[in-house]
Symmetry: C2
């Protein structure tokens, strides 16, 4: 008898309280039949992770990463135990495991560990015994048996990596939205749910601000070609399939629009226009552990130039202080910061073979009197940094202009 294996991941909002855990437990047992096996990955209950982090920060402004992982990993351990307990109450056999127990081995980069290998033995044994297997998301263990976590959104990665390790037929990501939308339905009420989206498009959308799935997990799904079904844990409705290719989509150039308000901009004015200066600036910034996104260097007519770059808002304070130090050292001018920016991006695999899309985007923004401060492009996306106050207006205009209302 051939068995189908389904990996399901339920996010924090799907298990935010005991009633929701019970609802999810019912959903899981409804899926479990004699013909298939189910592995369930759960996130921590609702805001548990934030609460634990807040406690640690009250005790220590700079808590050690290893201890943070020890602390934060408990959230998922609690939810997976409760889920197994809820499933057992429905008369089905379930067993919960920590990341360590199912052999999710990671490197030693605490708080942002990378999975190296997954030992599937214990999981397979439990499945063979007919058990529904519940695994704590977001965590693993080093070869030295220290608990690690995979970074925010890491439960998605756990699910996808398990789907690969166990050779699952499908990986379902349950969340509080019905799937992937052309843009954020809270901004544009005409936003449409996509039936399918490619890994590349999803990856761009996740990187550019769509918060439905963690970017790293999509990379892994893409690398191993694991189809992902993103759907709501509150309805039976089909969600969005994330797949390798979607032939039907050839003609549609723009598939989605994202808006990311989590960045801030730093500008170093009057930077001496000499070789090696940019390298010096960004080496110093990377040394303090801040990742820089877009960098723009203005065309210089004099011996000086302005260099602008974006950093995560949470890192602005330290990045700004470092930028000021560098500016002094390299004899540059003033250093400016701007928290009030948004990154608006249009995404679509079809953009590769279509021309004029960028022009259309810039034209639409211009017509709406939205000034473009910075521009970056990838093979399948174009992003503009604009004033945050205008971002909703810009998203609405672009959504309409690229006909996403009629997808």
């Amino acid at each position: 008898m051939s068995h189908e294996l389904i990996v399901q991941k339920y996010g924090g909002s799907s298990v935010a309280n005991l009633e929701r855990i019970q609802a999810v437990a019912k959903r899981i047992v409804a899926t479990k039949t004699a013909k298939n096996n189910i592995v369930v990955v759960v996130s921590a209950l609702g805001d548990t992770t934030d609460e634990l982090e807040a406690m640690a920060l009250k005790l220590n402004e700079d808590p050690p990463d290893r201890e943070m992982d020890m602390l934060m990993s408990t959230g998922e351990q609690i939810s997976c135990a409760l889920m197994a307990i809820a499933i057992k109450a429905l008369g089905y056999d379930a067993i919960s495991f920590t990341g360590a127990q199912v052999g999710i081995k990671t490197d030693r980069s605490h708080t942002k560990a990378r999975i190296r290998t997954i030992e599937g033995k214990r999981t397979k044994k439990a499945l063979a015994e007919g058990k529904i297997v519940i695994i704590a998301g977001y965590q693993g263990v080093t070869h030295n048996n220290d608990i690690t976590t995979l970074g925010r959104g890491g439960s998605d990665l756990t699910a996808v990596a398990l789907a690969k390790a166990l050779n699952a037929d499908v990986c379902e990501i349950y969340t509080d939205v019905a799937g992937i939308y052309t843009t954020d339905p809270r901004i544009v009420k005409e936003a449409k749910k996509l039936k399918t989206i490619t890994f590349d498009e999803m990856l761009e959308m996740a990187s550019l601000g769509a918060q439905v799935m963690q970017a790293r997990s999509i990379e892994v799904a893409k690398r191993f070609n694991i189809p992902i079904h993103v759907r709501s844990s509150f309805s039976k409705e089909e969600g969005t399939m994330i797949v390798k290719d979607d032939d039907k989509l050839e003609d549609i150039s723009v598939r989605g629009i994202t808006c990311n308000k989590s960045e801030a901009k730093i500008t170093i004015c009057q930077v001496p226009d000499q070789p090696g200066v940019a390298a010096k600036i960004f080496t110093e910034i990377s040394k303090i552990g801040v990742s820089v996104d877009t960098i723009v260097q203005n065309v210089s007519h004099t011996r000086h130039t302005d260099i602008s770059f974006t950093v995560p808002k949470v890192d602005l304070t330290k990045a700004f202080a470092t930028a000021k130090k560098i500016a002094q050292k390299i004899k540059a001018g003033e250093v400016l910061e701007d928290r009030n920016i948004a990154r608006i991006s249009i995404i679509g695999s079809g953009m590769r073979s279509h021309t004029g899309i960028a022009a259309k985007m810039f034209q639409t923004l211009a017509e709406n009197k939205v000034n473009i401060e910075m521009i970056t492009t990838s093979e399948i996306s174009i992003s503009c940094i604009i004033n945050q106050d205008l971002s909703d207006k810009a998203v609405k205009a672009l959504h309409k202009e690229f006909n996403l209302e009629s997808v």
Copy 2:
């Protein structure tokens, strides 16, 4: 250089909130010097364990033991991580470990596991590196890597077992009271703190309701002769030393009085007075995992007898249901339950060589119009089951009668 090794255990009330964790962290670093090593065992924060249990019981009236251990063990994991984080904030190096990580191997009796071995390697390595080692109490791991817990109060056992495994010089149990008292000071305000108490006396007191330390941990301390210092985490005052023998105590017959309200009584009426009937009853009760304490079979003048026994209140419902089933099967009469009982006990090693103590106890109770429902004795204790409403009165009277106010 010879190092002293101190094992300290802090109970739930000592780490009930972040302020208390910080206070304990300060206390720990004050004890840590170049000359000694410290291993700290922590319980879960305040009521965490109760809260987790309540969640599980809402999902499942009879939650599976393995999953309960998975759930409940997180409480201690959280507190030990927070303690390490708090100590690091004071500039000292600390590292936290789960029971599994320091190799506390137990049998497979989930929710009441027994420690088999403790692998001291990882702890010793961390101590050799000058770190303060924080270990999650109350938990271990089976050889199959399943998380187990040691039963309520299990953190005491963790501390004592670690003191033995690491060959510690002393084991300090920090709690919210200043030591061991002649009786519960909340009931008798004249209760006195004892300077020393023997393992045997402490064992009786713990078994009979004194909640300062878990009985099993005292057994282990006794077996390996590990001196224990029970003291308050809120003051520097010396507490009570639990030791093997205390010569000075020879003349004092009664050292403490306990009152335990956690039991309930079941009576099976008109049990046919045939060989094997009692065995049948208590075999069935033990099969459902309920431990019976006192058993009394009334003297029988007919062919029928009444059998009464006490069980933990939490197990009353299932024990009562089972008792009713057995009663039908063996053709006994009515089955009665009584939640309103208390066990009053007097304890003292000196009782071995003193006569008339039991008589004095019964006389005192009679004078106070307290009816005795059941009696049990051990070599160093006498217990009476009485009406719970009269228990405070009984404790006060006995405390006075045995001159414990002037210890």
